[in-house]
């Protein structure tokens, strides 16, 4: 691939869009090597935005910049702004932990806390934030488990260890745990890649429901999944955002040559 011509970002101009999360000029490095090269994106509220691209394109690194997780890695640095409802998460002099809890995250492989019960897993973030009222915690736990379609399956025994659930259930438990801290935005890093097709389907249904009230950003290497569940898609390649737009347009009518090659499966 020769010179990368980036396609200007397109948004539907009909209505005045409301952006929950705006990333501006993000440059992310590992020990000086750029993994994300000056990427800016705007994420619509109550919508699902998918980040696609071949391995190593920087999509996961970019995702982790949105809730200040990237800087946890050794030798990692981030420059740029991430505005959540207008407030910059990277405004200096404030500890990152203040901002991380505003955005929930789900990882590729389910990672529930093995020594905690289902209830305690979901409530973990609440305890951190000092919520003492047991009734409120019960409410939140039930609400979150309902949202991930897990409530009916586990409500009879919430004290069971989190690890006793199946893989798909564990992942939904992790999503419930992330939702429990009442974030406005949910980041998902290939959440279904370690799951079987049926579990994957459950998660996709869940995402379709969740987007009615949450802003969801999902990294996926599965293009069909992106088509199924996302409203907007950003295609990244070698650390750059090559094209961004409505999912339909990206997949059916990509304007950039590299995008076209990728969505047609010519490289992966």
């Amino acid at each position: 691939m020769e010179t990368l011509t980036k396609t200007p970002i397109s948004y539907k101009s009909a209505e005045e869009p409301r952006y929950k999360l705006i990333a501006e000029n993000i440059v992310a490095t590992y020990n000086g090597i750029e993994a994300v090269k000056n990427v800016s994106m705007k994420f619509r509220e109550r919508a699902v935005t998918a980040l696609i691209g071949p391995s190593g394109c920087g999509k996961t690194t970019f995702l982790r910049c949105l809730n200040r997780m990237h800087e946890l890695s050794k030798g990692a640095k981030v420059v740029g702004k991430v505005l959540l409802d207008g407030q910059d998460l990277y405004s200096s002099r404030e500890d990152a932990i203040i901002h991380r809890r505003k955005i929930g995250m789900v990882f590729q492989k389910p990672n529930p806390f093995p020594t905690m019960s289902i209830y305690d897993n979901v409530a973990a973030g609440l305890k951190l934030n000092g919520v003492r009222d047991k009734k409120i915690i019960d409410q939140i736990v039930q609400g979150c488990l309902e949202m991930v379609y897990l409530w009916d399956e586990v409500k009879h025994d919430l004290k069971k260890p989190g690890m006793s659930l199946s893989g798909g259930q564990q992942q939904r438990l992790c999503i419930a745990r992330a939702l429990a801290i009442q974030p406005e935005v949910l980041l998902m890093d290939e959440p279904a890649s370690a799951l079987d097709p049926i579990a994957t389907q459950k998660i996709e249904e869940m995402i379709n429901e969740l987007k009615k009230e949450y802003t969801i950003i999902i990294v996926t290497h599965n293009m069909q999944q992106a088509v199924r569940i996302s409203d907007y898609t950003g295609f990244m390649y070698l650390g750059d955002l090559v094209e961004f737009g409505e999912t339909k347009q990206i997949f059916e009518n990509p304007r950039n040559e590299i995008t076209a090659k990728y969505v047609q499966g010519q490289f992966g």
């Binding site: 919520v131 949202m147 009442q182």
Partner: protein
Amino acid sequence: MITIEQRAEFRKHFRNNIQSRLVTDRIIKGIVFGCVALAIIPLGSILLEVIRNGAPVLSIDFLTQPPGAVGSDQPGGIGPAIQGTLLLIGMSSLVGVPIGVLGGIFLSEYGNNRFGHAIRFFNDVLAEFPTIVIGLFAFVVIVLTLGYFSIIAGMFALSIIMLPIITRTTEESLKLVPVTYREAGYALGIKRWTVIFRILLTSAKSGLITGIMLSVARIGGETAPLIFTILGSSDFFTGFDQPMDALPLRIWRLSLLPYDTATAQGWGAALILILIVLSLNIGMRYLFLRKRGGGGRFRITTGG
């Protein structure tokens, strides 16, 4: 479905406790730093005091002369103790290393079964064992049987102490050698024991040497087993059926004497002992860091 409004409601129950949590975090970090200091300070103090008190006593006479009469102004030196320690280390290794290496080979190459697991387990159990018990054991088995205190008894005790370490490090080093080395050897028709000796041990050489150095450093500093085996003496080595002196033993005996010259000599002996032990440890680390993973080359020799 928890709506945006409901989320705002729930968030009202979050306490604004970020600052106090950050303060707790910082306090814990301080405590942890304190723990680290508590470990470093004694080591610094020990090294400092040993050097400070031991260096003035060092001299050629001190290193080579036998001890003089207790409390006299001819305090003599610790020559026999140094000789004793070196002899003990050498002789114990003669026994401990072959048995330990063979045992380690067994565990690594033939030991993937219940018998091997049992041996491995008890090997580790004996690794950090009270050496005074081992010394008593050597006393009953060797000294009482033979009828005299001697270097043989000391050698017996120390070889038992070094055995688990050598066995374990040998096994670990052999396990680090890639399976492909073994497969290549067998594919060429070379018999198992030759593969082990010519190929595997050579590759695992640095790991083995590390283990031996580790165990030598360990037994060089042991005192308790020597109390019941070599007993201690003021003379140089006089025979395999005579008691003998060694550095740790002499340090202990000197520390019990009420004379300042004896105490000073004790520090001097401690300095020598620490130099031996620490240089073995430092040398071992340097050697291992250079050849991480038990590198080295193997050669297939042809012909006779």
